[in-house]
């Protein structure tokens, strides 16, 4: 299981990486390599050249911006896991990150790599979809961005331009006084990709009224997506209402069906997990009142 031969080059900057992609369309960017290298080893990917961006210093950061938490593309997952800022300001990602692989893969794996590879069941991608993150990249035209809703389009397929180098993702912060999060997934072993997963974030005002609720579902369709639960936010503690709303929201999704889980399983359990993650988020918001 040895990769086909390729050239290797370290990019000096994201712009350089993009220029290298312009120069050779069979080039491919590598950061942590935790998804790409197995594909190379099995010769499912055969780039002519690997463009290594892992050591571009300015691509690794976690920053508190005014509206968002901004994470650099090559930021190792382990840094997110250990970041106090993330724990405080982006609790949903904090919760999700421990489901990503296991310690040695989180040590190398990057936030941008997970978003770029876009596995339908990837946890970081699910959080990005749930919260409506913005993805920033550099290509030959300069720096650009895409909203996550326009980004994922298929299993391991995104709208990122072929010559683009992802540079970071901005996750919106929520300013409400009481925010709660929930993250649920089912997998065969705890380090595996989820059969299906759900992420929720809810906000309550000082009067105990739910002002915002978002729900994302992973593993069910070709990519993680946000399911609309805004309409039930007034009845957010009513499990039956939630189940119904979620069921409706995923009605049109053609569920993935494979060796690990039938489509029927995924659809049914998606509703359960979504419901649980929302209720957990509500409990958390009302319980210890995560304050911003």
């Amino acid at each position: 299981m040895k990769p086909a031969a390729f050239d290797y080059i370290r990019a000096e900057s994201a712009a350089h990486a993009s220029a290298l992609l312009v120069e050779d369309e069979n080039g491919r960017i590598i950061a942590g390599g935790q998804t790409l290298v197995p594909m190379l080893a099995m010769r499912l990917a055969r780039p002519s050249r690997l463009i290594d961006i892992a050591r571009i210093p300015e691509l690794s950061y976690i920053r508190d911006e005014s509206e968002t938490i901004s994470i650099g593309a090559t930021t190792r997952q382990v840094l997110v896991e250990k970041s106090a800022l993330i724990a405080q300001k982006l609790p949903l990602l904090h919760k999700a990150i421990e489901w990503v692989g296991h310690p040695p893969t989180r040590a190398r794996g990057t936030v941008g790599g997970s978003l770029a590879n876009s596995d339908p069941a990837a946890e970081i991608a699910l959080v990005a979809a749930t919260l409506g993150a913005t993805l920033r990249y550099v290509d030959e035209t300069g720096e650009n961005s895409i909203e996550v809703d326009d980004y994922f389009i298929g299993p391991m397929i995104t709208t990122l331009p072929q010559t683009a180098c992802l540079i970071g993702a901005d996750f919106p912060k929520w300013g409400e006084p009481h925010v709660g999060t929930g993250f649920e997934e089912v997998n065969a072993r705890s380090s595996d990709f989820a059969f299906v997963s759900a992420a929720s974030q809810v906000a309550f005002d000082a009067d105990g009224k739910c002002t915002r609720a978002v729900l994302g579902i992973g593993g069910l369709g070709d990519f993680p997506f946000r399911a609309d639960v805004d309409a039930v936010k007034d009845r957010i503690e009513n499990e039956a209402a939630l189940r119904e709303a979620i069921g409706l929201a995923i009605e049109d999704i053609e569920p993935l069906s494979d060796l690990h889980a039938t489509g029927e399983y995924r659809r049914r359990v998606a509703v359960t997990l979504a419901c649980r993650s929302l209720l957990n988020a509500v409990r958390e918001a009302k319980g210890f009142a995560h304050a911003n």
Binding site: K2, A5, V37, P103, P104, T105, R108
Partner: protein, 164 residues
Amino acid sequence: MRTELNVNGQLHVLDVEPRKTLVDCLREDLRLVGAHTGCEHGVCGACTVIVDGTPVRSCLMFAVQAEGSEIITIEGVAPAPGELSILQDAFCETHGMQCGFCTPGMILAAHALLRDNLEPTREDIVEAISGNICRCTGYDQIVEAISLAARRMRGRNMPDGVPA
């Protein structure tokens, strides 16, 4: 491609193909065969080495990517020939292995855990080795070895820098 690798404190200048994984390079070019390959696609953990302080899968990294990093392999853990580290000795004490194939990776994963946490709970230990598959032991004596080592290291009276 000319590559400089810092392995167990020694600098090696090598000419490697970019497609050569770090584990193959360690094994074939440096003849450090303690890191094993069980899957070559990042699942089993037999190839675990420590890169810049954290355990990583050396089959998911190309040797050329490791230039400039500090690499520690199982061969760099024992304090002297014939002398075991506390952790290695604990693995012998509890028989935390059978065939020994997963053992170097397991020890390096545990080594990294104990560097940060000398009072690991069972859950901490399980999480730390969850990326290393052992087909022989069912993990019990491995977990036992790591908690024994932690206990001994907590109680030890040694100058800093003595390898765990």
